[in-house]
């Protein structure tokens, strides 16, 4: 089973309960009163076409976009603010810092670089196979390596909740599969919400998948093939599910163009 090194977080994983998430621009309602639960310690995938509001929903959950109407809490009713690590589609590595300094960015910003933090960074970089480029600047790395560095930076935050916004959509399919496996291994046991427009990515990583679609967008959970996790790409049930999701999305009412 996946190893869980360097995790100091609460043994009881946090659920994320989202209720009343609404968003509209001008008179155009993107989504209204969305309510869902992301189970603690599991990967929850939110799948949907581009422009449906996935990233916005994730930002609302992260507290980056206050809406006033949305309630977000864990199972104890307390806020999840400060318990979140964020990983976006762009690697957001700072071009003037070495990979090592980049993965320590959070600690640096909080003025809390300690020898322990540095040891943890070294060890995590080693685990993802980036130890040899720790002193290089990001522009010397390939897209896949950069995204691995971003993953390490996310892990360095050591938060119970990880929010990922299309984390691997900018890399080639093979690298994407490797990064999915790596994330499954390293993030296992944490509460992860990831948004994606790739049905295969959702199927591989999601313990639960919600499809966000429509006008205004609604969330529907879908049935998942009962296979080992992360689900293999060559499993016939996974491929069949992927085809079904694509068909359903393709035949859903078109989003209205602005």
């Amino acid at each position: 089973m996946p190893n869980k090194p360097h995790t100091t977080h609460d043994p009881m994983p946090l659920d994320i309960r989202v209720s009343g998430a609404s968003l509209s621009f001008d008179r155009h309602t993107v989504f209204h009163n969305l309510t869902f639960l992301a189970q603690g310690g599991q990967f929850t995938g939110i799948l949907g076409p581009s422009g449906v509001g996935k990233t916005t929903l994730l930002k609302i959950i992260a507290g980056l976009l206050p809406t006033g109407t949305t309630e977000i809490c864990d199972q104890r009713g307390s806020s999840i603010q400060g318990k979140i690590a964020w990983m976006s589609q762009k690697d957001l590595l700072l071009p003037w810092l070495s990979i090592f300094d980049n993965v320590c960015l959070g600690a640096k910003l909080r003025g809390a670089i300690t020898p322990q933090i540095q040891d943890r960074a070294t060890s995590l970089l080693h685990q993802v196979g980036l130890a040899h480029v720790a002193n290089k600047r990001p522009d010397a790395l390939s897209g896949g390596m950069r995204q691995r560095a971003a993953l390490v930076r996310t892990l360095m935050e050591d938060r119970q909740i990880i929010l990922m916004d299309e984390p691997f959509s900018a890399v080639d399919p093979l690298t994407r599969i490797r990064l999915q496996d790596l994330s499954a291994r390293l993030l296992h046991g944490r509460t992860v919400i990831f948004v994606t427009h790739d049905p295969l990515e959702a199927l591989r990583l999601g313990h639960i998948i919600f499809v966000l679609n429509g006008q205004p967008a609604t969330l529907k959970s879908i049935d998942l093939p009962n296979t080992a996790w992360p689900r293999p790409v060559d499993d016939p049930n996974v491929l069949k599910a992927q085809a079904e999701i694509l068909t359903a999305l393709a035949h859903s009412p078109q989003e209205r163009t602005a």
Partner: protein, 243 residues
């Protein structure tokens, strides 16, 4: 190599022009007359050149210092920017040359008025480059740093400032290129020393080769300054130039 070829082409065109214009040294002196003037007036050129160089360097220091402070405070305190920035843009509509006589009137024939001219002319490209750089921090980076519980000052210091350095760098390069203009115009309007002063005097006494020699010294100074700044920026900000 390329420099040598360019020099040869330049000197050929110059000599040809001298021939075609009737070999009148008081209109266009041939290169060798200018070289002679450079040699025989070397101490004079060095003296006035040093003064102009000092004006340019002080102008750069003051102009950049003020521009960096202003860019930073406006970017950090947005409400002020809404009021102050339009004023600075408006002042740019007024050519610096137009206020040169006023500066000489207020600050005298000495170095101060020339330094003020150079500072004024440098100020805007540097301030606007830096201010734009500070304003255009990737919003996704700011989101990321908020989820990292970063304080505002830490975000400025570790993210917004370094991210704005490319903007500042291009502002500095433009500044280095225009600084000599400020100093020379200041000297033309009223001065007792400097290359601009020397050129006016040489012109009045029909010492055209000396005028060209002064121009040559000025060009060398401006090119050196620009290359020096470009070189330091490349060394200081390798991530911009090596990618």
């Amino acid at each position: 190599m390329r420099l040598t070829i360019l020099m040869v082409i330049f000197l050929t065109i110059w000599t040809t022009a001298w021939h075609l214009s009737g070999q009148r040294g008081y209109i266009l002196p041939p290169p060798w007359d200018v070289a002679k003037a450079l040699w025989s007036h070397a101490p004079l050129l060095a003296h006035h050149g040093m003064i102009t160089l000092l004006e340019i360097i002080l102008g750069m220091l003051f102009g950049c210092g003020f521009a960096i402070c202003l860019g930073l405070s406006l970017a950090l305190y947005r409400p002020a920017a809404a009021w102050v920035w339009p004023i600075f843009v408006a002042t740019q509509a007024l050519p610096v040359f137009a206020i040169a006589p006023l500066l000489v009137l207020w600050l005298g024939y000495g170095m101060a008025s020339k330094v003020a001219m150079a500072s004024l002319i440098i100020f805007f490209p540097v301030a606007s480059g830096f201010y734009d750089g500070l304003r255009r921090t990737d919003p996704d980076l700011l989101d990321l740093s908020h989820t990292m519980n970063a304080g505002n000052w830490a975000i400025v210091r570790h993210i917004r400032l370094p991210a704005a350095l490319p903007g500042l760098a291009s502002g500095l390069k433009v500044g280095a290129a225009v600084a000599p203009i400020g100093a020379i115009v200041g000297e033309w309007v009223g001065s007792s020393a400097g290359l601009g002063f020397l050129m006016l005097h040489a012109n009045a006494r029909v010492q055209i080769p000396l005028m060209f020699a002064a121009l040559f010294v000025l060009a060398i100074m401006a090119i050196t300054l620009h290359s020096l700044i470009a070189y330091s920026l490349r060394r200081a900000l390798p991530w911009i130039y090596e990618s």
